[in-house]
Subunit: 226 residues, 2 copies
DNA sequence: CCCCTTCGAGTACGGTGTTCGCGAGCGAGG
DNA sequence: CCTCGCTCGCGAACACCGTACTCGAAGGGG
């Protein structure tokens, strides 16, 4: 029960050795520095050297606190998850989960790199577990199997992350490529239904907040029964 | 109208110059080699040097056919999308879209790296456009706005990709970490609802095929009306 | 046939994550 | 109080990576 096996998640490994010279840094500091770098210059800018420089130390020093760069990414994910303000469940689980989704969207918009991380490297640290506990507790009155509830959590998370990624976290060049491809396909004439869709035009794009709410509620309804 | 601007997607740029010495390779060959490497050793193994080596050439040569490594990834995505066997729409759009989702799942399982790519770098090449056209045509009788249909396509794609990623495309070490974290959270006792869920146990996990079908149909129902 | 253009690819550059080795520093045991 | 054993900090090094430059070589249209 001493914990700390190399293949365990970061959060279960002891941060410091119990004996010897104590460290000058902490995982919390490393995590904060990494988040700051990612916020400023994106996820690719989160290199060991860069994070270390932000802390005024050398890259190799970080490995005293962390096993790999992926550990840093996991820590970043959970650090942001600490930002949820979980309200006690009400009688209306749809409202409760919509609130969670809205908070997730807000966090993802504040940290655009998180969308990619959530999608490609789903990590559940302590704060992620708290979030999951909260969601499951909100769903207590819903007559669905436990696995269905876990699935709902996973789907909701992925849905919001993908949504925000399309909203803000995709490089402008990528979005431009999509548009050009679409326009080209329409112009080529071999995609009549797409052409019809394009002709129908986007009707001013209703306010994105309520569109998001609507999307989440629809998916939730489908997942967990009307 | 000559096409070929540097910021256009790969598929719109001419593959070869119209004059001068013709190339010995082709984008198709490069794409096939890259897919083979990814199938064998994962997406991270798809390096310019490795793909070039598989073709018996040098890394720098690939840049005669491709602007960057990201171009190669886009080509890989669309190459797999060529594998869809799109049936003519029936009267039952739910069945039609479920068929698409099943095919997508099968393709993703055959090429596990694609899940990550789809989630993090959604690319719509010619075959992707054909797929989108097909989905939209299946949805013709559905009374929903065009943007709602596009949204449904995006959600469906992301949903299936995330699902397959959790099924097969996540490294065993990652899945293990999730389990350990979960068990640890339950054992710590501060997550009663999670503990209840764990106690309730997974009831033999019903056959994953029908679970997938069920998930897709539920989400579709929520998205596009009962 | 020749020349212009493109192709092939060796070499090089600046970067990455990670390991090694070693001196420095701290805390505990005698 | 001193010393021993440990850990920490971190410069240097390794094996790669994506990509730019720069040639000589090679093929096809005039």
């Amino acid at each position: 029960m001493v914990a700390g096996r190399r293949e365990d998640p970061v959060w279960l490994r002891p941060e410091q050795a119990p004996t010897g010279r104590p460290g000058e840094l902490s995982r919390a500091q490393i995590t904060a520095a990494a988040v700051a770098v990612a916020d400023a210059d994106g996820l690719d800018a989160v290199t060991m050297r860069r994070v270390a420089a932000a802390l005024g130390t050398g890259a190799a020093s970080l490995y005293r606190y962390v096993l790999s760069r992926e550990d840093v990414l996991d820590l970043m994910t959970d650090a942001v998850a600490a930002g949820y303000e979980l309200q006690p469940p009400t009688a209306d689980w749809r409202r409760d989960l919509l609130d969670v989704a809205r908070q997730q969207r807000a966090l993802l918009r504040r940290h655009p790199w998180l969308a990619q991380l959530t999608l490609v490297r789903p990590a559940l640290g302590p704060h992620g577990m708290d979030l999951l506990e909260h969601v499951v507790s909100c769903l207590a009155p819903v007559p669905a199997s436990g696995s269905a509830k876990l699935e709902a959590f996973a789907v909701l998370t992925a849905l919001v992350a993908a949504h925000v990624q399309n909203e803000v976290a995709l490089p402008a060049a990528e979005r431009r490529k999509q548009l050009v491809s679409f326009a080209h396909a329409v112009a080529a004439g071999r995609h009549p239904h797409l052409a019809a869709l394009a002709a129908q035009a986007a009707p001013g794009a209703a306010d994105p907040e309520s569109a998001f709410d609507d999307l989440v509620l629809r998916v939730l309804g489908g997942l967990l029964g009307a």
